[in-house]
């Protein structure tokens, strides 16, 4: 027991969680390894009705990263509850349901339904998707709107609510404080950075949506910095993410102040990456002389504070 992490609503056997949108509803990965080894699973965003998402191309590779503009394609909350959660309930892992919407009412209704399902242990409030015209990031870039939505979703939820923060803001600390004050039980951060690639043969953006969310190793330093700043400013726990693909990436986020870590894009490059990180963690903790992984949480700033 040197990797377990207890967070609001979540008893994680280890701090490794596949990130929402990068793991579907687990079915594909369950063919590759036992999902019960995972600390938890952040399932693909749910909306009130089924969404078909954006036109293709939906992905474009970048240096050490990728852009995506999927557009929240999902079968809708009722189908997710009826057809996806029963399968996920067969695994010994904590299910975190990502909730998206175009209006506050949609967020609230989807949260109400998902949080009522016993398989769901926590809600991840997605106010940071850059790839939809309505809702999504617009709620996540204005602290007043973000706080108001958090308050209403929290009131509708029978499970703890983690707010997923967008990095596309001037002050992520201000956003974090706003949603904490509005009752958020935790934060997940960061979502993707808005970006674009242009095909020089055609002179046009590669993505059909024109802009997309940048993820992968390219954004890790941004994510680590943001976790580092926010962790010192709030009292609620943070699940950190952004470019994680190795055990040392995980430790960087923990040192920066995260209590658990989500793995996103790396699942596309190597579908076994979460399993490999979990297997590699104990030996790495040994080699660094760390007893429990949370012993180093926030040590990156704690050391600075205590330096004479």
């Amino acid at each position: 027991m040197r990797m377990n992490v207890d967070l609001p609503g979540l008893r994680l056997k280890n701090p490794i969680i596949p990130a929402s949108g990068c793991f579907g509803f687990g079915e594909e990965f369950a063919k590759l390894y036992d999902l019960s080894i995972l600390g938890g699973i952040m399932i693909k965003a749910a909306t009130g009705e089924a969404r078909f998402g954006n036109q293709t191309p939906r992905v474009a590779e970048t240096a050490q990263g990728m852009l995506n503009a999927i557009g929240l394609q999902n079968p809708g909350v009722e189908t997710i509850i009826a057809e996806k959660l029963p399968f996920l309930s067969t695994f010994d892992t904590e299910i975190i349901a990502n909730v998206a919407g175009s209006t506050p009412e949609e967020y609230i209704e989807v949260t109400r339904q998902l949080s009522a399902d016993p398989t769901v242990k926590a809600i991840e409030l997605n106010i940071s998707c850059p790839n939809v015209k309505c809702g999504g990031m617009q709620f996540g870039t204005d602290p007043v709107m973000a706080a108001e939505l958090t308050r209403r979703v929290k009131a509708a939820s029978s499970k703890p609510v983690y707010v997923k923060l967008s990095p596309n803001v001037t002050s992520i600390v201000e956003m974090a404080k706003a949603v904490e004050a509005a009752g958020a039980d935790g934060l997940t951060m960061i979502n993707t950075l808005v970006g674009m690639r242009i095909d020089v043969q055609t002179g046009k953006p590669i993505l059909a949506n024109r802009i997309g969310g940048l993820s992968g190793p390219a954004i890790k330093p941004v994510a680590v910095r943001m976790v580092y700043e926010v962790a010192q400013a709030v009292d609620i726990p943070i699940i950190g993410m952004g470019g994680v693909r190795t055990v040392d990436d995980v430790l960087e986020f923990i040192y920066a102040g995260a209590s658990a870590v989500a793995v996103g894009t790396a699942n596309f490059e190597n579908p076994y990456v979460c399993q490999e990180i979990i297997e590699a963690l104990p030996a790495r903790l040994d080699s660094l002389g760390i007893d429990h992984i949370l012993d180093v949480r926030g040590k990156a700033y704690a050391q600075l504070v205590s330096r004479p």
Partner: protein, 239 residues
């Protein structure tokens, strides 16, 4: 599903077109399926299978960007990290009839493996292969050894001038298997051949159905090219 394979040859066979053979012990590959190949880039590259002989799997690929340029620079003995075989291929077993194979450009390769399999099953085939020009034609002789083969080039520098749709209009068959650029698939999808199967290409993310990147429009929403395809009945997709 993930394995390391060793390159035993990697050579240019036509304009910007490479043939790579890898040793892949113990693998069973259905014609029309693909492998997802790791390069130094973040995302893997999906490559169709052009042939399987014993433990040797052949990929043909066009050098178009960073990933395929890197692959083209690989040498004999280099090891590749691959996922696969992935997806659903052409439904060979159902047809004891005459099959027309229609390929365009870098969509031609999977049809070679298909044709070898069909020939082994005693099924008669005719191949119509379209290329831009003479210097981009590949595997012509290999296809001819397996049966009637019609080559078209857009500029008329080899075979018939024009597109595959010209010869297709005069060919009689019960089933059509096709792979190639979207414009070509669109044209052959409405041909008069009673049963038509299309292999679709798209930019992929994970290759295993989780990321929803490589979707294709279908009559009732979207299908995922990587796990619902890449081979679809013509009626199953809207191109």
């Amino acid at each position: 599903m993930r394995r390391d394979v060793t390159i035993i040859s990697n050579q240019q066979i036509a304009k910007a077109t490479m043939e790579m053979k890898v040793r892949c012990p113990g693998v069973t590959v259905a014609p029309g399926t693909f492998f997802h190949i790791k390069t130094s880039g973040l995302l893997r590259r999906p490559l169709s299978v052009a042939n399987v002989e014993g433990d040797i799997v052949t990929f043909l690929y066009k050098v178009v960007g960073e990933g395929t340029t890197e692959l083209a620079g690989k040498r004999i003995g280099d090891v590749l990290d691959v996922l696969g075989p992935l997806g659903n291929g052409f439904p060979l077993e159902q047809y004891g009839k005459r099959v027309v194979l229609v390929g365009g450009g870098i969509g031609v390769p999977p049809l070679y493996y298909v044709r070898r399999k069909l020939q082994a099953m005693g099924i008669e085939t005719v191949a119509i292969l379209g290329f831009d020009s003479k210097d981009s034609v590949f595997y012509e002789q290999a296809f001819r050894e397996l049966g009637e083969t019609i080559i078209t080039t857009v500029d008329g520098s080899h075979g018939e001038r024009g597109f595959v749709t010209g010869p297709l209009a005069r060919v009689e068959a019960d089933v059509l298997f096709s792979c190639g650029p979207e414009a070509m698939l669109k044209a052959v999808a409405t041909s008069s051949i009673p049963e038509r199967y299309l292999s679709i290409e798209n930019r992929m993310g994970c290759g295993i159905g989780a990321c929803f990147a490589c979707v294709c429009q279908a009559p009732d929403g979207y299908v995922k090219v990587c796990i619902d395809g890449p081979v679809f009945k013509a009626e199953e997709v809207l191109l």
